[in-house]
Symmetry: C2
Subunit: 291 residues, 2 copies
C-alpha cells in the first residue's frame, strides 16, 4: 500500500511543495506533514493554510522518521539538501523532487546520497505558474497535469510505484522517461519560452518610453510575457542546470527568427502567410489534442 | 448628437467588425447595420447572431445612404475598399477603420478617397484575440479596452468626436496620437510578439518529434504561443504594412537574445538572476498599473 504516507517532509514549501502537501492531504494521502524552509513568514503561511503541520529550518532533523520526502527547492540548492539529509534518511524512506531539470538533479543525488541513492526517484510536475510561495499554493494545482518521473536504474519498483501513486493521488497523470530525454524536451517547450519571455520584458522595460509602451499593450503582450513573472532564482538555476540543451534551443530559435526576418525584409507575402498558417494549424492541432 | 447612427455599414464582418456592431446595437448606438463580406457563411452567421440586419457583397452599393462606415478588413485590403466606396459616400458620412497599422491605412485613404479624405478618421481598437470570424464576436469585446484614434489634420472635429463616441458607446477608452507614433508603439508591443509566437510554433512544429514535444508542454508554452493561433492573412498584412518598424523591433530583440545567450554561455548566474528579477519587477509594475 504505497499511500497514505505516515510522515511527509517537504523541503522547500513554495508553490510546488505546498501544493503537493495540500493535494495529498485533501486526498487522504498523508497523515502528517513537516515543512522545511528558510523563510519563517512563508512557513507560517503554510502552517496557517494547513499545508504543513510542523515547520522546521533543518532538513536533516526533519527527515528523521519520515517515510516520504519531497525536495522542492530551486534545483541549484538540491545538492546541499541531499547531502544534509543522507545520514538521517530511514532505509525505507522514499525521496523525490519537483525540479524542472532532471540530469543535474540526478548528478547531485548520486554525488551526495551514497547508499541511499536507490531511494531517490526523480520527478518533475509540469504545473508551474507565474506565482510563487506557499501563499499561491492550491490543492488543485496538479489536477489533470502531467508529472514526468525519470527513475534511476537502481530504484526498486516499489519506490517508483510509491512516487507515482503520490502524484496520482494529487490528480496528476504520470509519464516516465529517461532524465536526458526529459531535459531535451523541457528545454524546447518550457525553458526556452521562459528565456524568451524574460528577454522580451527586459528589452522593453529598459527603454526610456517603457511606461508608454506598456500602457498601450493589450492581452497579446500580456500572454507572451506571463512567464517573465516567474521566480528569478528558480529559473536562474534551471537555465544553468540545463544550459547546453537550452543554448541549443536558443540557437535554433535565433535561426528561425533570422528566417522570418528575411521573409519580412523581402516583403515575401506568400511565404509569411504560409508560415503563419502552418503555425496556426500546428497550434490548433496541439490544443485540440491536449484539451 | 454623434450617435445613434441611422445606417451603419461594416465592411469585413469578422471578430472586430461584428463585435463593433453587436456592442453598438447593445448600447442603442446603431439603428440598422449592413454587413459587407466575401464569405456567405460568415455573413449568415452575423445575420443569425443579430450583429447585422442585412448582408451584401458590394461595399459601394452598401454605403449609399450610410452615415457611418467601419472598414474592418485585413489592412492590405483597405485600399480597394476605400477606392470602391469613395464615389458613393454621402458628404456627411464618417468613415473609420479597425486596422492594426495606421500609416499604411492613412496612405491608402489619401490615395483613394479624394475629396472624401477628410471624412476618414483612422482608429485601432486594441482588442484582438486568437479567434476570428463573426462567430467569435461578442458585444463585450471592447469593454475597458483601449481604442487609439489617429486623426488626420483635415478631419473636422465633429467627425473625430463621432468616431470617439461610437467606440465609447462600445465600452472602450479612447486615446489619440499620430499614426507614426501608433505604429512605432504597436510594432514593439503587438506586432513583434505575434511574429515571435508564430516563429516559435513554426520552429517546434517542423521537427520530427513535434507531437511528443507538444504532448509534454504545459501552460507556459500555451501562453507564449497563443498569438500563433491568430489570423494568418490579417497578420501577414500587418507585418508588411509596418515592416520597417517591425524589422527594427526584431533586430532589437535579436540583440537582446544574443546578450542573454552570452550570459548563459558564460554561466553568469548573478547576471541572469538580475535580468530575470528586473523583468519580473517590470512586468509586475505594468500589470499592477494597468489591472
Amino acid at each position: 500500500m504505497p499511500i497514505p504516507i505516515e510522515k511527509l517532509v517537504v523541503v522547500g514549501v513554495g508553490l510546488i511543495g505546498a501544493s503537493f502537501a495540500l493535494a495529498l492531504k485533501a486526498a487522504g494521502g498523508a497523515r502528517r506533514v513537516v515543512g522545511v524552509g528558510r523563510s519563517r513568514a512563508n512557513l507560517e503561511q503554510a502552517l496557517a493554510m494547513g499545508a504543513i503541520d510542523d515547520a522546521m529550518h533543518d532538513a536533516a532533523r526533519a527527515v528523521e522518521g519520515a517515510d516520504f520526502v519531497l525536495v522542492a527547492t530551486p534545483v541549484g540548492a538540491m545538492r546541499d539538501v541531499f547531502a544534509g539529509i543522507a545520514p538521517k534518511l530511514a532505509p525505507d524512506a522514499v525521496v523525490t523532487d519537483g525540479g524542472s531539470t532532471k540530469q543535474s538533479v540526478v548528478a547531485a543525488a548520486r554525488a551526495t546520497l551514497g547508499d541511499r541513492t536507490a531511494q531517490f526517484v526523480p520527478a518533475h510536475p509540469i504545473a508551474g505558474s507565474d506565482t510563487s510561495g506557499a501563499a499561491a499554493a492550491t490543492a488543485a494545482l496538479y489536477r489533470d497535469r502531467e508529472v514526468i518521473v525519470t527513475p534511476l536504474q537502481e530504484n526498486p519498483p516499489a519506490a517508483v510505484a510509491r512516487v507515482r501513486a503520490a502524484w496520482q493521488a494529487c490528480g496528476a497523470r504520470v509519464a516516465e522517461m529517461a532524465p536526458g530525454e526529459h531535459d531535451a524536451i523541457l528545454a524546447a517547450v518550457s525553458h526556452l519560452p521562459h528565456l524568451l519571455s524574460y528577454a522580451l520584458v527586459h528589452e522593453l522595460a529598459a527603454r526610456g518610453d517603457a511606461t508608454q509602451l506598456f500602457a498601450h499593450a493589450g492581452t497579446g503582450l500580456r500572454d507572451v510575457t506571463r512567464l517573465a513573472a516567474s521566480h528569478p532564482e528558480m529559473w536562474r538555476d534551471v537555465c544553468l542546470a540545463n544550459r547546453d540543451a537550452l543554448l541549443g534551443e536558443l540557437r535554433r530559435y535565433q535561426d528561425a527568427l533570422a528566417r522570418v526576418g528575411a521573409l519580412l525584409e523581402q516583403s515575401d507575402a506568400a511565404a509569411l502567410e504560409r508560415l503563419f498558417a502552418a503555425a496556426r494549424a500546428a497550434r490548433r492541432a496541439w490544443t485540440d489534442r491536449n484539451g
